[in-house]
Symmetry: C2
Subunit: 319 residues, 2 copies
């Protein structure tokens, strides 16, 4: 993985996308609210653009209509010739790529904040592609400092050699905010307020950067994806058990070899057979049943993030 | 409302229906498990029949395909002439009426236990049509005594003059089990085990009754439906706010006049303007957004339930 170069210009084209998944309600209602009342997204040096990313899925209160939009921003989908038979989300990904990209081009937006909810007990999770993304890691650090009460954790999701596929990959940079637990189709006031406050703090960070603030190096802690674990399944592929009560709701806590991970319908426990302690996340997330994921294994890391140098101030205009 | 006569014969035809709503996972996986392994449902005097009530919705992990099955057991739907254009759930209600009814006939099943989950913080809720259903009230009392750790509450849902519409209304009698909170599409091991234990205790009660046990009168507490309250909405009908953090998760707790019930996206609080204290239930249930229900108001009542007389023992067969 290469280190993403830190920006050398102010970030003026910023988008906040909600409803990338149509049943994750915090982002849907924030995006709808900001489309009516955009003042919250205005800062002296820029105004962020609110986007309801998957309006058809949001109208149906489903994750997606034809396929997961947030897995559709790969080059193959974005460059395919359009056809009337295209899945809805392929068409929509191409539209968003026109609006916010094109991906990997100089015209792309500078930054996307993409808003999500999970049914898992993830608290406040900040989703970054990898730890070499110095600007994103500083943004996360700022959110942690501004909102210590939320215990924001950083999840590094990109696997070695994997093409980026998420909506924020059409911009030059971006992160996801993942707040839970919240059932699909439910709008909790507490998570709505938290997400609103986090977006405000993220825009404040971009404003500080744009104004020429420099941010010193720091020691970071993050959880890097190490693999996925499926539910126990019967011969027909259906569930034969579910997440063990001793693992349920324990996202980010250490899981040690020999600890129970599943409870079978027949009554037995299934134990974790890995050789090292991991930190499971997205435990029993509703949307991942169809993906064959009962939880995602991560390894907890600490590392040094270098300073984020301040922008060279633009020449002061003559009076 | 008339008092339902107490049974004078053993209850031998008993069904347990799961997946009446296709994204309420405890009942779906219990029904699927029992269809493979029916021993749990066997008692000396009867064997309960497991039924996956809405298989198409369960396969799609949605509440329903075309319309809410659990509002489709009215005379108008059950007696309508079948047509190929019928909504799936109308066809399925007619099938279930053939299998478990016909409704209001002598051939109908004696009892249906219908299994549900809610996203609301309802704990263990036992759903009975009305307090004059002496047999059902005794069954609920038995569950309360057998499982004091679950704080089982009784919700009386039938409103004056309303035709019965739920799946258990096709049998001569029945109740619903409503366990929460559980997100749609998620199977929590704790609620799965609780529901399994409650079904076992309910079948044990029917067995005791069938064996000639008499059950003394008792004082009951229950929550009777008194109305519904919608979310605050904008002119276009979309939400303008959501359930207030001070009301969220407080199902069955007293709500006093003047207490906050909603938090608007604009920031203000909406206060409860009723004249008397009520007990809200199904607070912020995902499935009720489309029904225009943010919560259901109930009044908490106590009343006397008369003894349930024992069955006259059948004449002992001659050797």
């Amino acid at each position: 993985m290469c280190s993403l170069p830190v920006p050398r210009e102010p970030l003026c084209r910023v988008a906040v996308t909600g409803g990338t998944h149509g049943n994750e309600m915090s982002g849907i209602y924030l995006a709808r609210h900001w489309l009516q009342a955009p003042e919250d997204l205005q800062r002296p040096s820029f105004s962020a653009t609110p986007v309801l990313a998957n309006p058809a899925a949001a109208a149906a209160c489903r994750r997606y209509v034809d396929r997961d939009l947030n897995r559709t921003f790969t080059s193959a989908f974005l460059t395919a010739r359009a056809s009337p038979d295209d899945p809805y989300e392929v068409t929509r990904a191409q539209e968003l790529n026109q609006l916010l990209g094109p991906k990997a081009s100089g015209q792309a937006f500078d930054f996307i904040l993409d808003l999500h909810n999970t049914t898992a007990n993830m608290g406040t999770c900040l989703i970054v592609d990898n730890a070499h993304n110095v600007f994103a890691m500083h943004l996360c650090h700022h959110l942690q400092l501004q909102h210590p009460e939320l215990s924001c954790r950083v999840f590094l999701y990109q696997q070695q050699g994997e093409e980026s596929y998420a909506v924020h990959s059409v911009a030059k940079n971006g992160i996801g905010l993942e707040l839970g637990p919240q059932p699909q189709g439910v709008l909790r006031a507490d998570l709505f307020s938290q997400m609103r406050a986090l977006v405000a703090a993220a825009l404040d960070f971009i404003e500080l950067f744009n104004q020429g603030t420099d941010f010193p190096a720091f020691e970071a802690e993050a959880y890097r994806i190490a693999g996925t674990v499926d539910f126990p399944r019967a011969k027909d592929g259906d569930l034969a058990g579910t997440v063990h009560p001793q693992l349920q709701d324990r996202d980010f806590e250490p899981l040690q070899p020999g600890a129970p991970v599943f409870q079978m319908f027949s009554g037995e426990d299934v134990l974790y057979e890995g050789e090292s302690t991991v930190s499971p996340v997205f435990i029993n997330e509703a949307a991942y049943y169809e993906k064959g994921i009962a939880f995602i294994q991560t390894e907890k890391l600490t590392f040094s993030v270098p300073a984020l140098p301040s922008l060279t101030p633009a020449p002061t205009p003559l009076p």
